[in-house]
Amino acid sequence: MELYLIIILVLMILGSIYSLNATDLLSAVISYGIVGFGLVIAFLLLQAPDLAIVQVVVEVATLIIMIAAIKNTQSKIPKMEFKPKIAVYYAITLIAALVFILIFDRATGCLSQFGADTMRMAQPYIDGAQHTKSANLVTGVVLDFRAYDTLGEATVLFTAVIGVLTILRIKGKKDN
């Protein structure tokens, strides 16, 4: 189980590195799909079918929107020629990444092991199915215990849509 997750995570990391270094924007967007669909399998392995359904549809929609954005654009990216200066930059990047990883390891040291049973906080939500009578516990949490968060989410989504329309629409409604 943990081994499968490690394999999928390594695949996702390789896909993201290729996606960021591709010389063509279309192949960059498509290999970005590796990350999203790998995430779907990871969610299924982690026993989160709700998230897997949402993620697989959202990933397809994201890819379609991205391809619609880069269609008919000049998508070749000039390759950087190798200079000694760039090797220094790569070394600095690697050192910074190592430092970040060390800090992260220290910071997450207080967390329990992967898969450990720490249900002190979650037990009320699991018993809560008797209060909400919703067989799907995730829906019960989203729409009953924490419905206020869902209201905030709806507001953020609405604001993002208004923002997209404001940026993309040049002509007003009255002009045409």
């Binding site: 943990e2 993201s16 026993q47 079918p49 930059y89 990047t93 992260f104 967390l111 949490v141 997209v164």
Partner: protein
Amino acid sequence: MIIYILCFILFLVGLYGVVSKRNLIKIIIGIAIMEYSINLFLIMIGYIEGGTAPIITKGFEHAKFVDPLPQAMILTSIVIGLATTALLLAVAIRLYQKYGTFDINKIKDLKG
């Protein structure tokens, strides 16, 4: 613990993309990768060895469930992520129409 660190390496790859790439689309891809890695990390914290998906069916009323709270929070986060990515792409499309390029260095030169 290696699994948490791999997840963080995915985050760092996204950060590398945001900081070092000059193409706007690649910066947006980097931001999306960072978001995905955070989602995965929070779900991993909620996982319990041998737990089943948090859905009550007949005969499994008292089974061991994984934590439903992070799943509920990430559910909203994924949809918001799509909307924010679309907003960033809208800005990128308008910049391309104005300057004819996605390269942020050239966009900086053409200021004014």
